[in-house]
C-alpha cells in the first residue's frame, strides 16, 4: 500500500482505474435501477419500498466513507503521509453528501407509514449524528490555517469520532427502546425478500464504486492543486 503513497504513482494508478470504475458504476446503477423499478410493490409499503434502493446504499456508503476517512487519517497521523491526509479530506464532503442523501430518502421512505417528515427513529438519528461528525470534521479542516496542523487536528477528530461511532450507535438504539412506549412504529427494515435483494445489492455496489471514483478524482484534484501552488511559489 505504501508504494502508492507517492503522488505520481497514485496519479498513474488512479488514471488507470478511472475508466473501469466509471464503467462499472454506470453498469451497476443502470442494472440496479432497471431491476429495482420493476419490482412488485411491497404488500405493506406499496411503492415506497423502491426508496429502500436509495436509502440503504446511501447509508451504507456514508458509513463506509467514514471508515475509509478514519483509516486514511490514521495512516496520515502515524506515518505522516500528506497523501493520506488529502485522501481523508477528500472523502469527508462525499461522506457528508451520502449521509444527507441517506437521511432524505430515509424520511421520504418512512413518511407514508409514520405520517411525519421527520421521525426520531434510531437509524435516522444515528445518521444525523454521523452528519454532524462529518460537518465538524470539515469545519475543523477549514478553521485551522496551517495545512499540516489542520490535517493532524482533523485526523485526531476523525479517530476520536470513529471510536465513538459504535457507542453513539448503541446509545441511539438503546434510546429508541427507551421511548418505545410512545407509539413510534419501529420502521425496521422490511424482511428483504429475494426479489428485492438483487437490486439492493447492485445499487449498493454502484453507490460504493461511485463514491470511490469521485473520491479518487478529488484526491487527484488536491494533488494537482498542490503542485500548481508549489509551481507558483517557486516560479515567483
Amino acid at each position: 500500500m505504501l508504494r502508492y503513497a507517492n503522488p505520481t504513482k497514485f496519479l498513474a494508478l488512479s488514471r488507470a482505474l478511472r475508466p473501469w470504475l466509471a464503467g462499472a458504476t454506470v453498469l451497476l446503477l443502470g442494472a440496479g435501477l432497471a431491476l429495482g423499478l420493476r419490482v412488485p410493490p411491497d404488500y405493506q409499503q406499496g411503492e415506497t419500498v423502491k426508496l429502500m434502493f436509495l436509502h440503504v446504499p446511501a447509508a451504507w456508503t456514508a458509513m463506509m466513507a467514514y471508515g475509509l476517512m478514519a483509516a486514511a487519517s490514521l495512516v496520515g497521523l502515524v506515518w505522516r503521509h500528506p497523501l493520506a491526509d488529502q485522501a481523508a479530506k477528500a472523502a469527508a464532503p462525499l461522506g457528508a453528501l451520502f449521509t444527507a442523501l441517506g437521511l432524505l430518502t430515509g424520511s421520504l421512505w418512512g413518511r407514508p407509514m409514520w405520517g411525519a417528515w421527520w421521525v426520531w427513529d434510531g437509524r435516522l438519528t444515528s445518521f444525523l449524528l454521523l452528519l454532524f461528525l462529518y460537518l465538524g470534521y470539515i469545519a475543523l479542516w477549514n478553521a485551522v490555517e496551517d495545512e499540516t496542523r489542520a490535517a493532524r487536528a482533523a485526523a485526531i477528530l476523525a479517530l476520536v469520532g470513529a471510536v465513538n461511532l459504535p457507542v453513539i450507535e448503541f446509545s441511539v438504539q438503546w434510546w429508541t427502546t427507551l421511548h418505545q412506549g410512545e407509539s413510534i412504529v419501529r420502521a425496521g427494515g422490511p424482511l428483504i425478500a429475494g426479489v428485492y435483494l438483487w437490486p439492493l445489492f447492485l445499487m449498493a455496489l454502484g453507490y460504493t464504486l461511485l463514491f470511490v471514483s469521485l473520491w479518487l478524482m478529488r484526491i487527484e484534484t488536491a494533488i494537482l492543486e498542490r503542485r500548481a501552488r508549489t509551481v507558483m511559489l517557486e516560479g515567483g
Binding site: 454532524f132 475543523l140 465513538n164
Partner: protein
C-alpha cells in the same frame, strides 16, 4: 500536580472566570423553558431530565474553548509543556479543573432547578447522580475539542459542533436515568452512563495531549 489544578480552578472561579458564567447560563435555560413550554408540572417533569441535561452540557461547553487557548496565547502553555508533567497529565488536570469549576457546580445546582420542573425527590436524586457521573465525560471530551480548536481564533464556534455528537450518549443515558425513576422501569441508564464516562475520562487525555502537541509546533 495539584499546583496546576488549584491554579486553574482558582482562575476559573474568580470573577472573570467561567464558573459563574456556566451556572448563570444553566439557570437561565432552566427558567426559560417552562416559559416556552407552559407551566403544567406533569409535562415539565417529563422533559425535565432531558432539558436540564442539555442545558448542563451547553453550559459546560461555554467555558471550554478558553481551556487551553488562554494559556496558549499568553505563553503559559509552552511552560506547562516543559514541566515534569507529561502533556497527557496536563490534559487530564485541565479537564479535572474544568469539571471542578463548572461540572460540579452545575451538578450541585441541578436538584434546585429540578424542583422547578416538578420532579419528585427520587427523580431529583437520579438527576443529581446522573450529572455527577456524566459531567466528567463532558469535561474530558470537551477538552479534546478545546485542544483541537486551540489555534483557531474563534475556536469557540466550532467547538460545540465537534463535541456535541460525541456527547450524545451522555445526554441519552443521563436523561434516561431520570426517566427510569419517573416511569419506574429500570433501564440500566446509570450503569451505561458510568461506563461511558469512565471510558471518556480515561481515553480523552491522550487525544487532547496529541491535539495540544501538534499546536505547540506553531
Amino acid at each position: 500536580m495539584s499546583a496546576l489544578l488549584l491554579r486553574d480552578v482558582r482562575l476559573a472561579a474568580r470573577a472573570g472566570g467561567s464558573a459563574m458564567l456556566a451556572l448563570a447560563f444553566f439557570a437561565g435555560v432552566a427558567t426559560l423553558v417552562p416559559l416556552g413550554v407552559g407551566a403544567e408540572l406533569p409535562r415539565l417533569a417529563r422533559i425535565a431530565g432531558g432539558v436540564l441535561w442539555v442545558a448542563a452540557v451547553l453550559a459546560a461547553l461555554l467555558a471550554l474553548d478558553r481551556l487551553f487557548q488562554a494559556d496558549f496565547e499568553d505563553g503559559s502553555l509552552d511552560l506547562l509543556a516543559l514541566s515534569p508533567l507529561s502533556l497527557e497529565a496536563v490534559a487530564a488536570i485541565k479537564a479535572s479543573a474544568h469539571w471542578l469549576a463548572t461540572g460540579l457546580p452545575l451538578t450541585l445546582l441541578s436538584p434546585l432547578l429540578g424542583v422547578m420542573f416538578g420532579l419528585p425527590p427520587r427523580a431529583l436524586l437520579a438527576l443529581f447522580v446522573s450529572l455527577l457521573l456524566g459531567t466528567p465525560a463532558v469535561s474530558a471530551l470537551g477538552a479534546v475539542g478545546a485542544g483541537l480548536t486551540l489555534s483557531v481564533r474563534r475556536g469557540g464556534l466550532i467547538l460545540p459542533l465537534i463535541v456535541l455528537p460525541l456527547l450524545a450518549p451522555a445526554v441519552i443515558f443521563g436523561a434516561g436515568a431520570v426517566l427510569e425513576v419517573l416511569d419506574g422501569i429500570p433501564n440500566g441508564a446509570l450503569g451505561l452512563l458510568g461506563a461511558f464516562s469512565f471510558c471518556a475520562c480515561v481515553l480523552s487525555p491522550f487525544a487532547t495531549a496529541a491535539a495540544v502537541r501538534l499546536n505547540l509546533g506553531s
